[in-house]
């Protein structure tokens, strides 16, 4: 294996190289493409329901029927012809059931936001942040040739594909897809008579069960690999923070997902076998609150599963582009561990108004507000890392700065909801919608974009186009804030979430203009992502060819040749120091790679 240039060229068929690949890098890229495709599905669903919120009961643009057609039956546009054909056909067409004339039906609206959230959480953010970055980065950054269990790794990806296929089929079954919210509160979700949704909800549960297996397999692999396969000298406190975050996330996934799987299994029994785990019947039986406890016992760690890798990626980017060591490396690690631990004892804050004993609300408020402590530590440490640095405003760094700022807003808005009396008012309003999007879009997605641009040269051997990346960044950043910041105001005004027509309420009339503004911003935000996708695929073939370590980074993935061959390293590197030895005094260059044997005793670095 010494001569890596040649070992990479052993013949592989197309199928074993690109489809059923065992190589962690290919699996990482597969997860990335998978997540990007699902990002457009999930985003598209959001645009459909945003239209309804801005212009309730009005036909959608392009595919909606024209006013002439609606009023007089006169066929004017191509869309009118399509609707004419649909109404004339014998069988019930999908479009006819869900959005006659291009108007979103209330039941279809419920399905749209349910599937938007389900897809974004389970099929975009986790597959990209954990699946793509985890797979690609872990072996490279800890200095090993592949994952501990390559076949399990492949299985993890293909189970995720199976889950996505099952989830997609749900859109087309009679009765429509799941429409009980991504949180699937029982008894709405557990008894078909309350929604009219039949197999859609079953497939939703089955798909998430499969996705659970995928995550389980993946997380076992990550944990084993990180514990056992670190390069010589790579102690735990020399691990890059992104690896720490993925390690902690893998533990959370391993412990949290089985709880959801159990709940889903009980839900399927309730729906198909006539059990009543989540229904309070006169004869006794179960309790709707049981579902909420199980769901959120998984759901809150899940929220940290979504944000921790973002924190890890942002930490890498901030250190590299400030050319400085991470401020308080160890406290960053301990803060992540604290967040992961606290994540297990805060689930009740989703249930303050649920009928849970009020005394418990006070307990959960206290634990929840304590999360402000590690979050503050992390934020101040990111600022400390930039302090007296030499900041390069590259596209990845812009995303990292956006991550930090949006995380500050998302973190601070969390305090309102953690506070039980204030939560009475803003619970189930747009305030929570704003909060979750500041954390998961403003946080996780900005980190994800930054990470993609940053590691793209190592993944594909080429740079993404810098101008396009920056245009994409600014459009996304502005449109994101225009979309989600006003939702705080809607929440303060008492605007409930999950209602399809705010104009039905007198006290919400005043928000019509704001809802239109939000929808316009959301469309801009959605279309801005086309720039990213174009840039991504165009750069894969036409981008500027990247050198081995274009950003001058210390960590081990940049020691591997570009493009990274099978087996990653010619010789497994030895690690001599921590990952963030930037601008060490007395050194000529402002970076010292972890694997550089020179200057070995100069710094502690851990």
């Amino acid at each position: 294996m010494h001569d890596n240039e040649h070992s990479s060229h052993h013949e592989e068929s197309f199928i074993s190289k690109y489809i059923f690949s065992l190589d962690h890098k290919m699996i990482g890229k597969q997860f990335l493409i998978y997540g990007l495709i699902m990002l457009f599905v999930g985003g598209g669903l959001a645009l459909l329901f945003r239209w309804q919120l801005a212009y309730p009961e009005r036909p959608l643009p392009i595919i909606g029927a024209s006013p002439q057609y609606l009023e007089e039956g006169e066929v004017v546009t191509g869309a009118d012809r399509m609707w004419e054909r649909i109404y004339e056909s014998e069988q019930e067409e999908w479009l006819e059931v869900n959005m006659p004339n291009g108007v979103v039906e209330p039941a279809f609206y419920n399905m749209l936001f349910t599937m938007h959230a389900t897809i974004m959480v389970f099929f975009v953010v986790v597959p990209i942040l954990v699946g793509a970055f985890g797979n690609f980065l872990i072996p490279l950054m800890i200095g090993t040739r592949d994952m501990a269990f390559p076949i399990l790794n492949m299985l993890s990806f293909w189970l995720a594909v199976l889950a996505a296929i099952v989830m997609t089929i749900g859109f087309f079954v009679p009765g429509g897809h799941a429409a009980a919210g991504w949180t699937g509160y029982a008894p709405l979700s557990s008894d078909p008579q309350w929604t009219g949704v039949d197999w859609g909800q079953n497939l939703w549960a089955i798909s998430l069960l499969i996705q659970g297996f995928s995550s389980l397999v993946g997380s076992i692999n990550y944990i084993t690999t990180i514990i056992n396969m670190r390069a010589p000298g790579m102690t735990f406190f020399r691990l890059p923070l992104v690896i720490w975050s993925l390690f902690i996330v893998a533990i959370l996934l391993l412990l949290a997902f089985p709880v959801l799987s159990s709940a889903l299994a009980l839900l399927i029994f309730d729906r198909l076998a006539g059990t009543t785990f989540f229904t309070a019947t006169a004869e006794g039986g179960g309790d709707p609150l049981l579902w909420q406890h199980l769901f959120w016992f998984f759901g809150h760690p899940e929220v940290y599963i979504l944000i921790l890798p973002g924190m890890g990626i942002a930490s890498e980017l901030v250190a590299v582009f400030s050319r400085k060591p991470i401020f308080g490396y160890r406290s960053m690690v301990y803060a992540m561990i604290a967040i992961a631990f606290l994540g297990w004892i805060v689930w009740g804050h989703h249930m303050f108004q649920s009928g849970m004993r009020p005394g418990l609300g006070s307990v959960f408020m206290t634990t929840t507000m304590l999360i402000a402590v590690p979050s503050a530590i992390k934020t101040f440490n990111w600022l400390g890392t930039m302090f007296r640095g030499s900041i390069r405003f590259t596209a990845p760094m812009l995303h990292a700065i956006a991550f930090v700022s949006m995380f500050v807003i998302g973190g601070l808005s969390g305090i309102y909801m953690a506070n039980t009396p204030v939560d009475i008012f803003i619970h189930d309003t747009y305030y929570i919608v704003a909060h979750i999007h500041y954390v998961v879009f403003g946080g996780s997605l900005f980190a994800m974009f930054g990470g993609i641009i940053f590691w793209f040269p190592k993944m594909y051997g080429r740079h993404m186009n810098d101008v396009l990346s920056k245009i994409h960044f600014w459009l996304t950043f502005i449109a994101f804030n225009c979309t989600f910041f006003p939702m705080h105001i809607l929440g303060v005004g008492g605007h409930m979430r999950r209602i399809s027509n705010p104009m039905q309420y007198e006290f919400l009339q005043q928000f019509e203009g704001m809802n239109i503004f939000i929808t316009m911003s959301a469309f801009t935000l959605g279309f801005a992502q086309l720039i990213l996708v174009f840039n991504f695929f165009w750069s894969m073939y036409r981008g500027k060819v990247a050198e081995k370590n274009p950003w001058h980074v210390n960590t081990l993935e940049w020691e591997a040749p570009t493009p990274v061959p099978h087996g990653n390293f010619g010789q497994i590197p030895t690690v001599y120091r921590g990952p963030y030895e930037y601008s060490v005094p007395g050194e000529e260059s402002d970076w010292i790679p972890q694997a550089d044997p020179e200057h070995a005793p100069a710094t502690s670095g851990d």
């Binding site: 209330p106 039941a107 419920n110 009980a180 919210g181 509160y185 709405l188 309350w194 009219g196 309070a280 006169a282 709707p288 400030s322 050319r323 400085k324 401020f327 308080g328 108004q353 649920s354 009928g355 009020p358 006070s362 408020m365 206290t366 507000m369 503050a376 934020t379 440490n381 600022l383 930039m386 302090f387 640095g389 030499s390 900041i391 405003f393 700065i401 930090v404 700022s405 500050v408 305090i415 309102y416 506070n419 039980t420 009396p421 204030v422 009475i424 008012f425 619970h427 189930d428 309003t429 705080h488 105001i489 005004g493 008492g494 409930m496 209602i499 399809s500 309420y505 930037y582 601008s583």
Partner: protein
């Protein structure tokens, strides 16, 4: 931003609003300080030719300061919140001897209000059932026995700063005292099916005289 809050018309609402304002100012100050610092750093420490970053690994003193400061703020805030929360939600702390008791039953997609009538007992002949219309006197303690028939609903009156989920086969006690006569909307705040949007009742807060007249009309003696 807080001018968007609907007018408060309940006795305990002011306490909620005070906390809302306190957190608003607290988070606004933190936000301005953090963002201000970030922007200053971004300008001041931008890359300049020939200038190298300083090698700083961290500061234990600073870590201790911001850990301790955040912890203290969190606990102070929690201390002020416990009594408000218990006052609104703990049945043991509700004002006793309510002036009016009503049972509210959420069902797809209406609120059913049941009055016990002059005998003050539910399930008797003089019970009165109203769909989506709740009538109470101003400045009077109202107790609501909240329940649901099918799925979970949530009883929300924005102007009262009151929200409570209603669960099938369970009765949850809620109380309020309205301070201003008027007609207020009671939306359902928990997704309850395709008719969730538009599930809407009304709270009619009457002056004592009007309320007495309403009672007289309903239960003529």
């Amino acid at each position: 931003m807080l001018q968007w809050l609907p007018e408060n018309v309940s006795t305990f609402g002011q306490g909620v609003d005070n906390l809302f304002h306190a957190i608003y100012w607290l988070t606004l100050i933190v936000f301005v300080l953090v963002m201000g610092t970030l922007i200053v750093f971004l300008i001041k420490y931008r890359h300049q030719e020939g200038k190298k970053a300083d090698y700083i690994e961290g500061s234990t003193t600073l870590e201790i300061i911001w850990t301790a400061a955040t912890t203290v703020i969190v606990f102070v805030l929690a201390m002020f919140s416990y009594p408000q929360w218990n006052n609104i939600k703990s049945p043991t702390q509700f004002p006793e001897n309510p002036d009016v008791v009503v049972q509210v039953n959420g069902k797809q997609f209406n609120w059913d209000m049941t009055y016990p009538g002059p005998d003050n007992e539910f399930g008797t002949d003089d019970d009165l059932e109203l769909e989506n219309e709740l009538h109470v006197p101003v400045n009077a303690v109202v107790h609501i026995r909240l329940t649901a028939e099918d799925v979970i609903h949530s009883f929300f009156v924005p102007q009262l700063r009151l929200k409570q989920d209603a669960l099938p086969n369970r009765f949850i006690d809620v109380w309020f005292e309205a301070t201003k006569a008027g007609r207020y909307e009671i939306p359902c705040a928990e997704l309850c099916g395709f008719g969730h949007s538009g599930m809407l009742g009304y709270l009619n807060v009457h002056t004592q005289n009007d309320y007495d007249a309403w009672v007289q009309e309903r239960w003529p003696q």
